[in-house]
């Protein structure tokens, strides 16, 4: 079968004739894809910063301890172990191996330390303490000996020391600051004793200066570089002496069997710890802690200690909450954008209805009509989406496609679907039945379909709300869609009520002697049957109010934080974009209803209605849905905030469970903007319509 080719002149002609609505739809697609494409990577970058910040602020070092091997010698003695520093190196290597490649990549090179118990300096009344410490990492840390030299061994390599022997001598180096504070020179002995009063024989071998005082290795034992006040209680000052590879075995013998503490420390590298690697890193840390040996065990097993898993757990909760909260805001944008695109497609098809009917009557098949419209909408939507994503790539560190399909699919499919329906209706054989009961049956069928659709929306909205309550904000797309779906469901109520209300008002006004009010109400009664414009207005105002309350609540409860401020920015962007989309919807709805409205107004003009009176009648038609949106939208937004904020886990960003803020002035401003828009739209439309001659109505009844 031969596939009919599109009639290119028709396709191009239609596009040229409707360039305005097409361009508006393209702008909506571009703006929303820009936001949907840029927000996730921006949030990821913010999450990376949040992880780094949390690790930087809270530390999160991994420390692993291991008991040193016994040094029992023959005949109740202890044996000097000359290769003790190499054992420490082995311990460091073993600990590094156990990290695994993923965790290892996120950590800085390990630093091994061996530290003595804290000793007291016994030559004064002021509490001064002293610690012997050995520090080692690959290639450092380096020091320069400015007086004396590095600590030397005090005995032969394999000396044996009987239990109960006099204190074993050990040499240490002192930093310039420590040496100056203690007023000690190389060769001097430091007067030290432990808690039990046992004297320690520690001699100063030399005074050193660190090559790089910012070397991370020194961070673990700052007292090695300078006295540290308050480390052992108020008024105390701690000093430390540096052990060398050669003096470490002597230090072992200078203290009891298990008194030296051997530790390897790993410091997370914020530059390499990104949000992406957090799950694997956190899992590995938890696994290490789970496999950690008991602290009391007297074997050589590794005993892991860290707060990193807790830090990552906290920041993960915050980031996941922020992602989920951002997705709530994104879904609100997408929902309103989809409605606006449906409205744009509706306007486009209304403008094209005569041409589509004519094409159908000339024998063009529905697939060909749909194909031509699809071609136009696909090209436009894809170009607009590409532009939006390109802009997103320019302003964000990456681009995400995840949230763009709903908008692009709507932009591509709505026009062709509406167009095919319109074309099909134009040549449908079905007539309005002459039989009254058959007409009622047909009317009831339409009502039933609408009721089924509305019931479906209500059911999905209820399901989303229940999912939000039960699973919380992190439960996926359905709970994140709860605010948008609930607003949509809530907007169905005024959509149902408005036609009844306008007809009621019209009936009341018919008894009055105010002609403009009567004609305005008559137009409003006709226009209120169109559901989509009202849905766009109410949802956009309600969700803008929701975003405003969200922003005010988060802003009020948060001092700072890269995550909260990013979310805050998204809330403010949403609070501006949503009303803008709503105003666009108002313009589209106004344009879609304009031919019918001005047909009536022109008829009334032929009865003697003055031009300025016609504007009042037009305002009477346009105002009811806007008033409903301006009044009901903020109330719906406030109600929704109270219903859902408890499940949005805002406390993870604000520090405490915040009560929803009520930025009434901002909510009022949104309402006023929409009401003011009518005051702008009516004269503008009137001015545009003035160009069309009133006379045309006589012939065709159309303005």
């Amino acid at each position: 079968m031969r596939i009919p080719a599109p009639h290119w002149p028709s396709v191009a002609g239609r596009a040229r004739a409707d360039a305005g609505p097409l361009l508006l739809a393209a702008v909506v697609v571009a703006v929303v894809t820009l936001l949907a494409g840029a927000v996730p990577p921006l949030l990821s970058a913010t999450a990376d910063a949040a992880v780094r910040d949390a690790v930087r602020r809270t530390g999160g070092d991994l420390q692993v301890h291991s008991r040193m091997e016994d040094d029992d010698g023959p005949g109740g003695s202890r044996v000097r172990h000359p290769r003790l520093a190499e054992d420490v190196d082995d311990f460091r290597a073993r600990a590094t191996d156990e990290l695994g490649p993923g965790l290892r990549a996120a950590l800085r090179p390990p630093v091994a330390t061996v530290t003595s118990p804290t000793l007291k300096i016994t030559d004064g009344s002021v509490l001064r303490t002293f610690q012997l410490a050995y520090v080692a990492r690959d290639g450092g840390p380096d020091v320069t000996w400015i007086a004396g030299g590095p600590p030397r061994p005090t005995a032969s390599e394999t000396a044996a020391v009987p239990y109960g022997a006099p204190p074993w001598p050990v040499q240490v180096g002192l930093s310039e600051a420590d040496a100056a504070a203690l007023r000690l020179r190389p060769g001097a002995h430091i007067p030290l004793a432990d808690d039990q009063g046992n004297v320690k024989k520690v001699q100063v071998s030399g005074v050193f200066r660190p090559r790089d005082s910012a070397d991370p290795a020194w961070r673990l034992l700052p007292s090695l570089l300078s006295p540290v006040a308050g480390a052992d209680g108020t008024g105390s000052t701690r000093f430390a002496g540096l052990l060398s590879r050669e003096s470490l075995p002597d230090a072992r013998l200078a203290f009891g069997l298990d008194e030296l503490r051997r530790t390897v420390s790993f410091t997370p590298d914020p530059a390499r710890l990104t949000w992406d690697v957090v799950p694997s890193v956190a899992a590995k840390v938890v696994a290490l802690k789970a496999s950690s040996g008991s602290s009391g065990a007297r074997d050589g097993s590794l005993k892991w200690e860290t707060r990193l898993d807790g830090v990552l757990r906290n920041v993960s909760s915050q980031v996941e909450a922020a992602f989920a909260q951002a997705s709530v805001l994104l879904v609100t944008l997408l929902a309103v954008a989809v409605l606006v695109l449906l409205l744009a497609a509706d306007l486009l098809v209304r403008r094209r209805a005569p041409a589509l009917a004519a094409a159908r009557q000339r024998g063009m098949s529905l697939p060909v009509i749909g194909g031509e419209l699809l071609l136009e909408s696909a090209v436009l939507a894809l170009l607009a989406a590409a532009a939006g994503l390109g802009l997103a790539r320019a302003v964000a560190p990456g681009v995400s496609w995840d949230w763009t399909p709903p908008v692009v699919v709507t932009a591509v499919a709505a026009g062709p679907a509406f167009g095919m329906l319109t074309a099909a209706r134009a040549t449908r054989d079905r007539r309005v039945p002459a039989n009254r009961s058959a007409r009622r049956w047909a009317r009831d069928t339409v009502r039933l379909r609408r009721a089924a659709l509305e019931t479906g929306v209500l059911a999905v909205a209820s399901g989303a709300l229940v999912a939000l309550y039960q699973r919380g904000i992190g439960g996926g797309v359905l709970p994140a869609s709860a605010p948008a779906l609930c607003v949509l469901a809530g907007a169905l109520l005024p959509a149902r009520a408005l036609p009844l209300a306008t007809r009621f008002v019209l009936k009341r006004l018919l008894r009055s002697s105010r002609p403009l009010a009567v004609f305005g109400a008559a137009r409003a009664a006709v226009a209120s049957a169109r559901v989509l414009p009202l849905l766009v207005l109410v949802t956009s105002v309600a969700l803008a109010s929701y975003a405003l309350i969200f922003g005010a609540t988060v802003g009020r409860g948060t001092a700072d934080g890269p995550l909260a401020s990013g979310l805050l920015r998204l809330a403010w962007v949403s609070a501006v974009t949503l009303p803008a989309l709503g105003l666009l919807g108002l313009a589209l709805g106004t344009a879609a209803g304009a031919p019918e409205r001005w047909q009536t107004l022109t008829r009334l003009r032929t009865l003697g209605l003055r031009p300025r009176e016609a504007r009042w009648v037009a305002a009477g038609e346009l105002l009811p849905p806007v008033v409903v949106a301006a009044v009901g939208g903020p109330l719906l937004g406030v109600l929704l905030a109270r219903l859902t904020f408890g499940s949005l886990a805002l406390r993870l960003l604000t520090g405490a469970e915040p009560a929803p803020a009520s930025p009434w002035w901002a909510l009022g401003l949104v309402a006023v903007v929409f009401l003011a828009a009518v005051a702008v739209v009516v004269p503008v439309e009137s001015a545009l319509r003035r160009r069309r001659r009133l006379s045309e109505v006589l012939r065709a009844g159309d303005s």
Binding site: R503, V518, F519, R605, T606, L607, G608, R610, S695, V697
Partner: protein, 246 residues
Amino acid sequence: MNAGPLVSVRGVHRRYGSGATAVHALRDVTFELAAGTMTALVGRSGSGKTTLLNVIGGLDRPDSGTVLVDGTDVTALDEDGLSLLRREKVSYVFQTFGLIPVLSAAENVGAPLRLARVPPVERERRVALLLELVGLAAHAEQLPAELSGGQQQRVAIARALAASPRLLIADEPTGQLDAETGLSVMALLRGVVESEGVTALVSTHDPTMLALADRVIRINDGHLDEHPGPRAEDRLDGHPTSRDDS
């Protein structure tokens, strides 16, 4: 019936576009309509019928020439003046009826009276009278969608007469009706011209409708080509000034 012409058209030109593509819809059109007569305006599509009706009714402005309706120079009025003219002196019947869909037949008929701020009691009385006149008293509360095409056009005629206009302009009022219904509508127009004393200018394609007119004006390429209508002799017997007007 008035003794003088109700409508006086003098040297009216109307051109659409400019340059080589300009279309001269009316060329030096001059004629008068006597009060209380029904005049049929006939001509091919594009001959200038609608333009002429529009110019007389103040819905369009001529490039040159004057149009007097009941002594008022229509071409000199501003928008508000034209609105007042339409409210008080000129009314229209549309080919597409032009009813307001959510208002009942009675409310549609009463619309011009509302604009004229006629008190409700008087308005209701006048509406009832007009619906009776067009034979739709029993359908007063029905919406336009619940009426047939012929009934809708009758409502439109009643509405056009509501404010007691001096001139009724109807452009192809039977264009969307079948022949039988169209004839009854024209007969109704004929009847109200006589009963209400209104002057009617009706454009039509249908030659059978011409039998009901006092006078027939043919328009061809913007020029007038006039003939007395089949009823002209009857009218002339009682109203000699009509002949003078033509």
